[in-house]
């Protein structure tokens, strides 16, 4: 009986502590560099003279340009690789 009491006294705090440790999600510590999510921007509701709206439009336009350029770059790179591969085959 004494042994059972001792085990209970040790086990209960250990289990309780492990639960509290698991309750904290480590993902909360991860801060990723995210791209602006401009898909939810409703231009009709925005005041074009409001600095917040102006800043958001500026950022989204900049991002759209970047995405377009990146997509273009991606295509060119694939072409370059193909040419490079062809050259290799010819040699």
């Amino acid at each position: 009986m004494k042994m059972l009491t001792k085990i209970t006294l040790v086990l209960v705090p250990v289990v309780a502590l492990s639960f509290s440790a698991n309750a904290h999600d480590p993902k909360l510590h991860i801060k990723k560099a995210q791209k602006a999510d401009c898909s939810k921007l409703d231009h009709s509701k925005m005041d074009s003279k409001d600095p917040v709206a102006m800043a958001m439009m500026k950022k989204c336009m900049k991002q759209a340009k970047k995405d377009k350029a990146a997509a273009k770059d991606g295509m060119d790179h694939s072409k370059m690789n193909m040419q490079h591969d062809n050259e290799k085959h010819n040699h």
Binding site: H29, K31, Q34, K35, P51, V52, A55, K59, C60, K66
Partner: protein, 173 residues
Amino acid sequence: MKTLKILLILAVLGITTMFTVMYSGIVNVAADEPHGEFVYWMLEETRENSIAKASANIQVPDLSDPELLLTGGVDYGFMCESCHLKPDQKESDMSVGLYPAPPNLTNEHQAHDEDSDRRKARNFWIIKHGIKASGMPAWGKTHDDKRIWAMVAFIERLPKLSPEEYQILTAMD
């Protein structure tokens, strides 16, 4: 002569008390053990009056340029959000664990901060110089004034930002 003796005794008593408190370890410095009401009031008053005096002569520039919100937003997201939170966030590890608790900057501006220019100057001073023993760093050591004013401009707008607007303004380019 008698007065001098009394003053000397009081000075010795004061110094002895100070060293006893310092070296006995009786002061609990744990952040999860709050100060008593009187000590908290004393520290808060000292802090607020110090900031008010130090920031009294700061000239607030024009903060209406949208570009400031973009620079300030990204900096806020990386440097301030973990303690001072973002729209729709109630708490974080830092906001819960730090003592004194960092203010939630997504809340409407505090009543004692009604004067907009004083509030902006106050925020500029706090961001630039930090606050001793509070967890607030002196960002002025690594960021120039222009960048700090951009953060002030962003913080001014923060209470009215939706989570979607916040995401766009704080996202990396």
